[in-house]
């Protein structure tokens, strides 16, 4: 069984300088409650790893506005002008990664692999400074695994062991990120007893989850 905690309790061990993966695609499958607790607690100098920063001036963007984020790694920042302003001013270091490479680097870290060989990015600015390998006559770019101290992920339903179900397109980066961090916090809209979640409908197995945080349903209001 995994501890069930409040967002405030969940951030007790998150220190300044931590690297944090945040699941979600725009506002879909996006955990927000623990990010708000990070904001309240004043944790700073964070590296945030997330596909995008979402649209509204909440969540990751709010942390950026408050000057808490020193580095952002993701595939897209165009949802919000604040990110491109911070990128231009140099206030936040931004590493842009192609979306497929981004998720596969995270999965590689979680799956015990030494990296990803991908054709994506060859012959572009992404190739700069990276090793390439030729396998069976085809060139690939070597992309390194991407891991973090913490991951905050989201599901619709979880049992107390941490087995979780995420519906529709809300699985997105939550699955890979749950594998790739030292400590994984799952925000769940519903927490049930073991046996009450159909084992055939488990999106992420319990082994990856360290803590459960109950949140209200449809918690996308915070973008």
């Amino acid at each position: 069984m995994k501890p069930v905690r409040t967002p405030q309790q969940a951030v007790e061990n998150i220190k300044d300088g931590a690297s944090i993966m945040v699941g979600g695609f725009i506002s879909c499958g996006r955990p927000t409650a623990v990010l708000e607790a990070i904001l309240e607690k004043g944790i700073k100098n964070l590296t945030i790893i997330s596909n995008d920063t979402s649209k509204e001036e909440t969540g990751i963007v709010r942390l950026v506005m408050e000057g808490r984020v020193s580095k952002f790694i993701g595939s897209y920042i165009g949802m919000n002008r604040i990110m491109s302003e911070k990128m231009k001013s140099g206030e936040v270091e931004i590493e842009l990664v192609p979306q497929g490479t981004f998720v596969e680097r995270i999965r590689a870290a979680g799956a015990g692999l030494g990296g990803v060989l991908t054709p994506t990015g060859l012959g572009t600015a992404i190739e700069r400074g990276k090793e390439t390998l030729t396998i069976d006559g085809r060139r690939f770019l070597l992309e390194k695994p991407l891991k973090a101290d913490f991951a905050i992920v989201k599901a619709n339903k979880a049992d107390k062991y941490g087995n979780a179900f995420a519906s529709g397109s809300s699985k997105n980066f939550n699955v890979a990120m749950s594998m790739a961090a030292d400590y994984v916090i799952l925000e769940a809209e519903e927490i049930v007893e073991p046996g009450e979640l159909d084992p055939e409908k488990v999106t992420f197995p319990c082994v990856f989850i360290d803590m459960l945080v109950p949140v209200s349903k449809g918690g996308n209001r915070n973008g």
């Binding site: 165009g78 998720v103 012959g123 600015a125 397109s169 699985k171």
Partner: protein
């Protein structure tokens, strides 16, 4: 460009898609292609954020916060659709399981090089799925305006903007022209019903191989 022109591009591309293919549509003009795909052809749309079987926008009040399209707007799932995580979604893309990707562009050149993600110093929204899609899809179709907002050609001899992917574009469809990228260069196969070959040449910054009697669309 007015809606008629945008729809003309989308309609022509929809005609190009074979039955039972899996297709990914980018943001902008590519999104319009969905409106012209016949329902009986078995074509399914892939949404990079994690499903196949993207349907029309839901009726107001019926939105599901757990199902959005690649632009983040509420979406629907058609019968026969399926959902997966981002790793699976991009395995589909990179692993050559996606038949077509329809993308917008800032520049395309004679070699089929594509630039569509940044104008350094001005516009840096990020990369998103564009690099994976253009490298991974079996066919890369560009749907765009023939000229940029300054009236300059977007089809050029050599891309000057940072590349999204080298030598991946197969087809370019604009409000003026239907151009196939071939090993010999850009083949002008069709022109729009209200233009001339001369006008297309005048507004194109690359050499065109012109069919004896180009088709009309």
């Amino acid at each position: 460009m007015d809606d008629n022109m945008r729809c003309r591009i989308a309609r022509r591309i929809a005609r190009e898609l074979p039955g039972n293919s899996i297709v990914n549509l980018g943001i902008g003009i590519p999104t319009l292609v969905a409106d012209f795909i016949p329902k009986d052809k078995g074509i399914l749309l892939h949404s990079e954020n994690g499903f196949i079987g993207l349907g029309a926008a839901p009726e107001p009040g019926k939105e599901d916060p757990n199902l959005v399209n690649a632009g983040g707007q509420a979406a629907t799932l058609l019968p026969g659709g399926c959902c997966f995580d981002s790793s699976m979604s991009f395995a589909i893309v990179r692993g050559k399981h996606l038949d077509y990707t329809i993308l917008g562009a800032l520049e395309v050149d004679e070699e089929g090089n594509l630039a569509n993600y940044t104008i350094p110093g001005k516009f840096v929204p990020g990369i998103g799925g564009a690099m994976d899609l253009s490298v991974g899809a079996k066919n890369v179709v560009i749907a765009m305006e023939h000229m940029n907002k300054h009236g300059e050609p977007k089809i050029v001899k050599k891309c000057s903007l940072p590349l999204t992917a080298p030598r991946e574009v197969n087809l370019i469809v604009t409000e003026l022209a239907f151009i196939r990228v071939t090993p010999a260069g850009l083949a002008l196969e069709e022109i729009a019903e209200d233009t001339t070959v001369e006008e297309v040449i005048k507004n194109t910054g690359a050499r065109l191989i012109i069919a004896e009697t180009p088709g009309r669309f």
